[in-house]
Assembly symmetry: C2
Homo-oligomer: 190 residues x 2
Amino acid sequence: MSRWEPNTRERLLDAALDLFGERGYDSVTVAEIAERAGLTKRTFFRHFSDKREVLFAGQEILSRLFAEGIANAPASATPIEAVAAALLAATTAMGPQRRERARQVRAVVAGHTDLRERELLKLATLRAAMADALRARGVPAPTASLAAEIGGLAFSAGFARWVAPEADRPFAELVREALDELMAATATLG
Amino acid sequence: MSRWEPNTRERLLDAALDLFGERGYDSVTVAEIAERAGLTKRTFFRHFSDKREVLFAGQEILSRLFAEGIANAPASATPIEAVAAALLAATTAMGPQRRERARQVRAVVAGHTDLRERELLKLATLRAAMADALRARGVPAPTASLAAEIGGLAFSAGFARWVAPEADRPFAELVREALDELMAATATLG
């Protein structure tokens, strides 16, 4: 069925976030999400392993964008320039139409310890993807780890500013700003 | 009962690690751990919420040692000197008699995805404890986050070297070395 339905994932995500907002994450079932989207439970499970994974749908895409951004950075790029390229590559997943949805996801995650833990683990995966891609460019291990941690911090800070209420500056600008602040901070570690 | 039994936690930990080593983590029950330690299940649950938590028993102590190490660093200490003080404070939990036990814990954790995830979350807690303690000293947010991430990387790298087979240099030396490597790496980020 899904092969004939464009935007199936998007429809499931919209339906899930609408229902979570209306009734709270805990009480919503997969069957209800599928029904709201006009799809079957079976179709839901072709796209997501469970209700929780709907909230983290974008993270595999981000890992890939980060890794590709680093791999495709010019050979002359420094480690942090490669990380900056990765963060900018991720902006394709952070368009203006995604911001409201990201805010809804964040509100659900903030209220649940297990979801916040899941988010921390996904962030660790994103950092690992960056560190691996940097080592593949020949960046030595401690520098690769450090640059990936800074990339992770910049991503988290930029994302938090992007989804803040009233925020309207684009993700690319906010994440670049966060990265610049962190690089300036490296000079103040002592 | 536990108030009359010195080293109850240690006995439970020894019993658990022995049993995990003999029969594998998955098949060992809390009742068996308690029995091997010559204690009751009730005593076990006064010390640990479940079998898994035995493996992460030291991490709350570490969070406290890290936070105290940073709080007690001289007022003149730079952020990274305060982090170095935190890592050295943690060495009280990393004596030579603990190394073999740490190796056993690591072997169990390495073989189980859910335990590795638990470890990542505990590391995130340790980093957060350091960042909080740094901000409490007046260190600005981006520097505090960055110094805490570097402290977390140094801790992980130092710990991995400490529990490596054949390793015999003390933790304090290995973690200091890892921290120095990371600080040197800050100059190579570009």
